[in-house]
Amino acid sequence: MKQKSKQSMTATIVLAAVFALVILLEQVIKPTDPAAMLLTVLKKGSVYALVAVSMNLLNGFTGLFSLGQAGFMLLGAYAYAIFTIPAADRATVYRYYDCVVNFSFPEVFGNAIGGLGFILGWIIAVILAGLVAAGVAFLIGLPVLRLKSDYLAIATLGFAEIIRAIFQWGRLGPVTNGSNPLKSYIRLNSFQLRLGDFTLSLTTFVPMLMAAVCIGVIIMLVNSSYGRAFKAIREDEIAAEAMGISLYKHKQLSFCISSFFAGVGGAMLAMFAGTVQANNFKAAMTYELLLIVVLGGIGSISGSCIGAMLFIAASEWWLRGLDSGVFMGIQAPNVFRNGFRLVVFSVVIMAVVLFFRKGIMGDKELPDLVRRIRAKLGGKQKAGESNG
């Protein structure tokens, strides 16, 4: 127990240091610097990390192979956007429809209480995004969770595609704006604090904090009694049921919680991208997430986070040069231009999967790794202690 509290102390200190560094970098790096890509990667990476972890909760910890993540992100993104577009901008956003939702939470609360009310309204909109996704997950879970493995994957994949089609349906235009994008809602760029002459930019800090809080909750869930029940279901459904664990109840629980965080992740993606359009939430997005989960290690939360950051960094930043023909200072012939990035990327991924059969982290977490390295460095004496 003592060791555990020491561990969480260390984790808190490391996390606080990282956040302080991020805030500092944000003030120093100008948008035109090449290093600004780092901030973009951190923003998008935290979105993907959160959704990948939520997917891992389902696929890695409960053993339910679901491919509906993009659908739940879409629900979250729309719910968030619809309820945060300022009333004044609604007419321009909903150019072709009569908008039915004519208020935004941040405005409602902002007008009532003031500055803090604005933030409160924004938090409510984010939570609502999660709740909408979780509510729909509950309804879908009723029939779908009776299916096993591949069948469940196909059913959830189908659901995600159906949701995407429904949200582009003209009849729902007054709510979803049909196939037109939603915009003008609160984006990451809105998080700039003006303190006199100095502007404190929090555009990277905010999504990272959101992801950290949500992932923290998922970690606590996984380590709780319910998390153990989920793992039992993953290991052996029949034995879990014989231990008095209701399969249906716990699968539904895991499915809804996972979808809740996918919804929050969708809201964050909306904040990052600046516009929301159903057409962007394709099955390819789910595959990217699945790739992150597998690369990071199925059943490892820190693996999903590391995987997400590496994936986004590679696809958005490090390998970008391949598309424009300049990579690490080498001018490539024309053949290797557009699309070459994806070729290299695929090769890298295959190499990673070949050399790390169980993903980067396997089913271990970062603290396990640190402990093992420390034991190795500390030599036999330390190793003897950890055995005792």
Binding site: S225, K231, D236, A239, M243, I245, L253
Partner: protein
């Protein structure tokens, strides 16, 4: 008078056209050790699965401490297909998922060990405590259930100590030797707080010495946890030593029942195990 804990009445399980368990009636009284034996494929495990809710029997009734926990009669297509007896005797349908039956106090082990392989010995036992814990997903996640969690951990640890498994608490359960895996599976079943324990071939794959240890172990847990034990077993040494009564199943039917001595001398049992020559020649 002996008090029925478990009671099976006319339990019939038909898969398609195959009657796996045919009209099985038996009772297990409080504190008894009762064995269900029979040649391979006699329907013993199927009978267990009917009791524990894994299968829904086609016809018949199972009650635990007087409460009906399973009842069914042939329905829909099965009405015409049904080959068993007592059709129409039962009209109610009582069906529970296995977890509900475990909650009512029947714990079981499996013929092929089913531990949560990637989890530790301690976690395996701890999971069995989840069912009776007073908590919900919010209180558990945000640790408002600290007292309950501590109680679960203490109880699980105490159980491991009683079973002499405490020194292995952090070992991965799939890494244990076979005999210990069996022990752990029984410990895990005990952790659900049962009044009745169903053991499906607990001595399978054990050598004579291990079997002897198991015999003592089963006696000891019956005393210690005030259990009623119903088991399937092939090791006749174990069965004859330990059982108060024995039921013999062959091709889904009950062919004999009684004390070990009675069953051993029953010609039908000998025939079932050794086979009967159709036309004996000298």
């Amino acid at each position: 008078m002996a008090e029925n804990v478990l009671r099976l009445e006319d339990v019939t399980m038909q898969f398609g056209g195959v009657v796996a368990v045919n009209n099985l009636s038996l009772e297990v009284n409080r504190g008894e050790i009762v064995a269900l034996i029979g040649p391979n494929g006699a329907g013993k495990t199927t009978a267990f699965n009917c009791v524990t809710g894994v299968y829904e029997p086609t016809n018949g009734r199972v009650s635990l401490n007087g409460e009906v926990i399973v009842e069914n009669h042939p329905q829909a297509k099965m009405k015409a297909l049904y080959k068993g007896e007592n059709q129409g005797k039962y009209t109610a349908v009582v069906s529970h998922t296995p977890d509900k039956i475990t909650q009512r106090g029947i714990a079981r082990t499996f013929q092929n060990i089913r531990l949560f392989g990637a989890l530790t010995v301690f976690e395996n036992v701890l999971i069995a405590k989840h069912m009776r814990a007073k908590q919900n997903v919010f209180s558990a996640t945000f640790r408002f259930n600290a007292k309950e969690e501590k109680r679960m951990r203490d109880e699980a640890m105490a159980l491991l100590e009683e079973q002499n498994l405490a020194h292995l608490r952090d070992a991965t359960s799939s890494s244990l030797p076979y005999g210990l895996q069996r022990r752990l599976e029984i410990a895990r079943a005990l952790a659900t707080g049962p009044s009745m324990l169903l053991l499906d071939e607990p001595a399978a794959g054990m050598n004579p010495q291990e079997t002897q240890e198991l015999t003592d172990f089963i006696r000891q847990i019956r005393e210690h946890y005030k259990l009623t034990i119903f088991m399937i077993e092939h090791h006749m040494d174990l069965v004859m030593q330990i059982s108060d009564r024995i039921y013999v199943l062959d091709f889904g039917r009950l062919i004999s029942q009684g004390t070990p001595a009675e069953v051993q001398s029953d010609q039908r049992v000998i025939d079932a195990y050794l086979g009967v020559a159709d036309d004996a020649e000298d």
